[in-house]
Symmetry: C2
Subunit: 375 residues, 2 copies
């Protein structure tokens, strides 16, 4: 049997009254959103790469995205899976129901397992109604600590923003240079969005966030009065990915994640590592769930630089784990981070993961080496 | 080593800025809510038994409750666990972060595993800010189909109520008889609550629900203008449990769950089973996530009645599974439902569950017989 997953790209069922969508793994995220949007619904975990990301990939990596602070990640929406096991048996997990406690949760064993336990061939997703109102604010900070404190205080304010992104000085500089973005040359910028059903609701939430920014010494705060203004505020953040892609240097993107109160410590640590190794780090990410994406630029033909990058990234992982964090918030472990699993997980956890790999795939047929869990 | 889980009742850490609470398994749900409430936060999956339910139990059974439609169940809030495995090793799963994709999701293997894989000794929970406004409505329906259609249409309306409870004719009659509740003698009543940050937001949502009720031939709709009125509307529903407990008959409570569009079919099927076996069924539950609790009353000293109840419950499970449902939405399988697992799960799923039980607990030391997964 040959499974051509990319061609398995049908939306099999959309059952709005049951808050359920059933899709094949090759369906592209944006195509599902388009279909659900016709009924006023959406699948919340929005990866920045939604125009190309397939839902099979999203499930296999438990993809996150910019709305994680309020809406969680892919795992929070997977109700059930069809999986082909390495021995050819077809396993159906979960149910069509919003709630089920009937035997072990096999579904979540496969979500985020990076294709190492089975091949996902069908996905049942819980879907949500689209919010009907949004408000946006951008705050600029002269000191990293002030931005980090603002993130912590947002979390304590009782407001959960639908988006809470942070950009560091280098990310801001890159956008100013390459896109002429209308951002001040500061240490950090936070972009926040609130959502809900009514404009009163989203404005109420935004006012609380603005009060936090004011109390955290923001040097500039802008709020969008219209959708067009909001779009302008967001355009800079959205351009970052392609600006980086167009760079003539090689780059490595990391995905370290810490409890939200440690965001400042992580940002300061990244700056210290960049200084120590004389490397160019551009950092931005989803501050609302503690997930940062440091991008390290280097010349791949320069062996000394490649080695420096490796040493710097090792320090980054050590720092993250020392701060109570995780190696990956949404990108996964793959091959690159496999050697670092021991920094985050105790021996018993790694032994347990290895025994699961052995149970499901004793011959090591699936995605060899990924996560480093082979016997 | 002896683990006295009930005495392990300390709230170890509350880290509001990190949206995190760390507790021992013996902490009672209401005690955690009290502690979190001081900071304006809560742990959303509210079991009706929160005054006595321990968090260890909530996690082991993946407890749900009346707020599931909007807030999900316990599994959606467990970030990590400490578990003592049957061989005495201590396993720490998950992380302190809102997001992590770093190896297999061991956490959710234990959530809902009913103590059959390991003994949970510490729990890390994600917590949410408390909503600041609420609105309540009660709608009465002369026909079951109209109430069922209202539930489906609420789901399609784009509004997710924080609570959406349904009571059938027998539940209403019981309340009218025993508590003098101010409810009309109708086929079904739906109680709904919306929540948010502002009164405008909750009223906006409630207006959409009221429009659905009007379009579904509700014969009476009441909305609460004040907290006191809301409390009066809710008091009848809250009294149901104790009214049933005080019954002089024995009763069995089930926990069947279906996709929301099948609620009418399930309610009609329950009425037909009650008629066929001449048994008294009182049914109410969490319509917003398709989870109903039929209570069957019987005289435990009457052998013929006990056998009738067994036959009726078997039919109830067959009906539920035929409707695409699950044996249990929030109570779990335990011993009683173990023989019915094959109605819901295919052979490969049961084999996979058995192999996990074998992997973690080869000697069958933990909670023998629960879920029926021993070799």
């Amino acid at each position: 049997m040959v499974l051509d997953l990319v061609r398995m790209n049908k939306i099999l069922e959309v059952r709005i009254a049951d808050r359920l969508a059933v899709v094949q793994p090759g369906v592209v995220y944006a195509d599902l959103q388009g279909r659900l949007g016709r009924d006023g619904f959406f699948f919340p975990p929005d990866p920045a790469s939604g125009k190309v990301a397939t839902l099979g990939g999203n499930v296999a990596t438990n993809a996150g995205g910019i709305k994680g602070a309020k809406y969680g990640t892919t795992k929070d929406y997977v109700l059930g899976l069809e999986v082909v096991l390495p021995d050819g048996r077809v396993l159906r997990t979960g149910s069509n129901c919003m709630k089920s406690v009937s035997g072990y949760d096999l579904t979540h064993l496969f979500v985020g397992s990076e294709g190492t336990l089975g091949v996902i061939t069908e996905i049942r997703l819980k879907i949500n109604p689209l919010p009907r109102a949004r408000s946006t604010a951008v705050a600029a900070f002269d000191r990293l600590q002030d931005a980090g404190r603002a993130v912590s205080q947002i979390m304590q304010s009782g407001i959960v923003p639908s988006v809470c992104e942070i950009l560091d000085r280098r990310a801001i500089a890159l956008l100013r240079e390459r896109t002429g973005a209308d951002l001040p040359a500061v240490a950090a910028v936070i972009l926040a969005e609130t959502d809900g059903y009514t404009p009163e609701e989203t404005r109420f939430q935004l006012e609380q966030l603005v009060a936090v920014f004011q109390g955290s010494r923001a040097v500039q705060i802008r709020t969008a009065a219209t959708d067009e203004e909001a779009e302008r505020l967001w355009s800079a953040r959205k351009a970052l990915g392609s600006v980086i892609m167009r760079s003539r240097l090689n780059f490595l993107v990391e995905d370290v994640t810490v409890p939200m109160s440690r965001i400042t410590a992580l940002l300061e640590g990244i700056a210290a590592i960049a200084l120590k190794y004389k490397l160019d780090f551009v950092t931005f990410g989803h501050a609302g769930d503690g997930n940062l994406h440091p991008h390290v630029f280097y010349d791949g033909s320069d062996r000394a630089q490649v080695e420096k990058v490796q040493a710097a990234v090792t320090e980054l992982f050590q720092l993250t784990c020392a701060l109570g964090g995780t190696l990956s918030g949404e990108h996964g472990i793959g091959l690159d981070k496999a050697p670092f699993m021991g920094l985050e997980h105790e021996a018993v956890a790694l032994e347990t993961m290895r025994s699961l790999k052995q149970l499901f795939d004793p011959q090591g047929l699936l995605n060899p080496g990924k996560m480093g869990l082979e016997a």
